[in-house]
């Protein structure tokens, strides 16, 4: 792919210098060639994350959230995805590293919590064995010591009777306990970067609350950088310092959590906020859905990918249908990819959107 190289040079203009941040993703593109055409799952996203901070990535299914995290972890099978751009983890570029180099980083430097712990854990091995295995890859210790560590970790994430449970198989755990066990596994080597991909989507709300508290406590303790990927705006509001809203493989808005919830700027973010019923506000008679459906990633709409579903696309004199808006700073580090002029956006937010939320 030749075009990404040109764009990499553009990217630093709106971004900080290389190596400033602990995790620095620059113009990441992940394309999957298929028989029907190229699926542009991630099409040029950039973000940075410091240790001790949490980034929330929000978007609907197919917006590229999970593909982004899998590329950071180096989990795309070789030859399947075309990955371009750069991912610096503490200065090391993961895209150009060999698989073996990335493998050594996994577990110690970065770890991941998957959405579905039943399929992410091996059904044939006990929970303890799986934690021990990960721990012994990075620490030269005996099995006994590693097992003791596994028991400590299970205790740390709140599994009752950890010394007995360590010898149980994943199917003997309930959903919430499995998720805890996976968190224990992910944290067994104190990773610097923790990626949680929909960590609570499969869980009940009381268990979800326990898991969110757990992630927050553990982050404080280990000072990890955390990326939390979810479609639930409530969950990111709980955890995230910064939020990136994704649509059709690109970031459409990026800012602090406060800004995203109090002063959202992109029509898609407005749509997301209007779509969800709020338990903390007066009940509205009707929800305000986003019309239409998310686009196919093989055939992303020209111009702004959101334009067919956007209520404000007509205000831009046709620019929405032809030019792809860049992610630009509108002040205070609030990045928005939208053609609307600041005045129009302000007006739409104040008059149309805010009163109805």
């Amino acid at each position: 792919m030749s075009e990404p190289i040109e764009e990499v040079q553009d990217a630093p203009v709106q971004r900080l210098e290389r190596g400033d941040a602990f995790l620095d993703v620059r113009d990441l593109k992940v394309h999957f060639p298929t028989d029907d055409g190229v699926v542009k799952s991630v099409d040029g996203i950039s973000f940075q994350l410091e240790r001790g901070k949490t980034l929330g990535i929000v978007g609907e299914s197919g917006s590229g959230k999970s593909v982004t995290s899998l590329s950071i972890m180096g989990l795309h099978p070789p030859g399947v995805a075309n990955i371009s751009g750069q991912i610096f983890l503490d200065g090391q570029d993961l895209v150009t590293s060999t698989r073996e180099e990335v493998r050594l980083l996994r577990g110690k430097r970065m770890a991941m919590i998957f959405q579905d712990p039943l399929s992410a854990m091996h059904p044939f091995y006990t929970v303890g064995t799986q934690i021990v295995e990960a721990y012994r890859v990075h620490n030269d210790v005996s099995k006994q010591v590693a097992k003791k560590h596994a028991i400590e970790m299970l205790d740390r994430v709140g599994i009752p009777q950890p010394d007995k449970r360590v010898d149980a198989y994943p199917h003997q755990f309930s959903g919430g306990m499995r998720q805890r066990a996976m968190i224990a596994m992910a944290l067994s080597c104190d990773p610097d970067l923790l990626i949680a991909d929909e960590p609570t989507t499969a869980l009940d709300v009381t268990v979800q609350a326990q898991i969110l508290d757990l992630i927050r406590d553990l982050q404080r303790e280990f000072n990890s950088a955390v990326i939390i990927i979810t479609h639930d705006l409530g969950v990111v509001a709980e955890l995230a310092d910064d939020i990136q809203v994704m649509y059709a493989g690109r970031a459409v808005e990026y800012s602090t959590a406060e800004d995203i919830f109090d002063r959202p700027q992109h029509p898609y973010t407005w749509g997301l906020l209007g779509s969800m019923p709020r338990i903390d506000r007066e009940r509205t008679e009707r929800l305000i859905p986003i019309k239409g459906t998310p686009p196919s990633l093989i055939n992303v709409p020209k111009g702004c990918a959101f334009n067919p579903r956007c209520n404000y696309a007509h205000l831009n004199g046709g620019a929405s249908e032809t030019d792809r808006p860049e992610l630009l700073d509108t002040g205070n580090g609030h990045l928005v990819a939208c053609h609307l002029s600041p005045q129009e956006r302000q007006k739409a937010w104040e008059t149309d959107i805010k009163p109805k939320l």
Partner: protein, 351 residues
């Protein structure tokens, strides 16, 4: 859609009239072991539910997974036969009707399923799927089945041209609409919707929620909604029943349940809902429930919530609290309810 009107009109539906009543509903799934398949225990999925559904309302059943809400839905539609208790639909006891006797009633009681991928036959066209109820129930349509199906498709926001397509050509939200069109084909009176939106994206979820509300208004539908998302439940329901381990612990109208929940479990559930507001993060005090829901094979005695309840005392372990009306229209099964006005509070037994 003028097909089934003739049969429905004799009974003029009145809002507020009882459509369905459930009394002491129990469903135990036997656990069998050994050569003789002797019963060694039972999963007490649903253990004594009593509630009514009035015409035109939306009653939601909420609770964590394993609390028996889906089993209840399947009992109401008689996809399962209850172990004990009575289900009365329009004055008729349907608890133990045979398959054949139940069939004519199926047009009045329909179901929307959670998974829009698993609930549509991939080898059938949309036309065949949505038209199936007409064929199965032998309903004559005025302008033919195709026309009726196309009208249904338009009704749920799909285009009539989708008639000859297959389910895989549609997105999750569109599939859910196909399922809803099928459900509506025979103009049911009661729709049991089992997590109708939980598999959908947020923006699509809102479309389907709005669609369900519009259809309710247009056809005087009565919904029993099974859901776990408390924000969605608050938006759609008139009354809400909170279930825990096969029992209803609280049943109240929406406003009273969300503003003044009485059962500690409801209080904990509501406090656990993540709120999309960063300012609430700091001050929000959350009740952290410990542990998981106990197994319904061997549920705790007396009050089933006592193992996780922070207000539990001796009496909770020995005496089961009955589901009683503490306030008009607000039933709670708890010895030490929250949010009770002083005079209305029953004498709390000392322990």
């Amino acid at each position: 859609m003028t097909t089934t009107d003739a049969e429905e009109t004799p009974v003029v539906p009145k809002i507020g009239e009882e459509l369905l009543s459930v009394d002491g509903l129990v469903k135990h799934f036997p656990i069998r072991k050994g050569l003789l398949q002797r019963q060694v225990g039972a999963v007490q999925a649903v253990d004594g539910l009593t509630f009514n559904v009035t015409r035109g309302e939306t009653l939601s059943l909420v609770g964590e997974s394993g609390c028996g809400k889906t089993t209840t839905g399947r009992l109401l539609t008689r996809l399962l036969e209850p172990t004990a208790g009575k289900i009365v639909f329009e004055g008729r006891d349907i608890s133990h009707l045979s398959e054949g006797r139940m069939r004519p009633l199926r047009r009045d009681v329909q179901m929307i399923f959670q998974d829009p991928y698993g609930s549509l036959n991939p080898r059938h066209t949309v036309g065949k799927i949505v038209g199936a109820p007409f064929r199965l129930q032998n309903v004559k349509t005025e302008h033919g089945v195709k026309r009726a199906v196309q009208e249904l498709l338009e009704l749920v926001g799909l285009s009539p041209e989708h008639y000859n397509r297959y389910p895989h050509e549609f997105s999750g939200g569109q599939r859910q609409r196909i399922g809803i069109a099928r459900t509506l084909a025979l103009r049911p009176k009661l729709i049991v919707a089992d997590e109708p939106v939980s598999a959908l994206d947020v923006s699509i979820q809102a479309q389907v929620v709005n669609l369900l509300e519009d259809l309710q208004e247009e056809f005087d539908l009565t919904y029993v909604m099974i859901a776990h998302d408390l924000s969605v439940v608050r938006h759609v329901s008139d009354r809400v029943a909170v279930m825990y381990l096969g029992k209803i612990v609280e049943l109240a109208d929406r406003v009273s349940l969300y503003e003044k929940p009485m059962h500690p479990y409801t209080v904990a559930l509501l406090s656990a809902v993540p709120v999309p507001d960063t300012k609430r993060k700091a001050k929000q005090e959350r009740i952290r429930l410990q542990g998981d829901v106990p197994s319904p094979i061997n549920p705790p005695p007396a009050c089933r919530f006592h193992t996780r309840c922070w207000k539990a005392q001796e009496i909770c372990k020995t005496t089961e609290p009955p589901l009683i009306e503490l306030k008009p229209g607000h039933q709670t099964a708890c010895h030490f309810p929250e949010n009770v006005d002083a005079p209305a509070a029953k004498a709390e037994p000392a322990s």
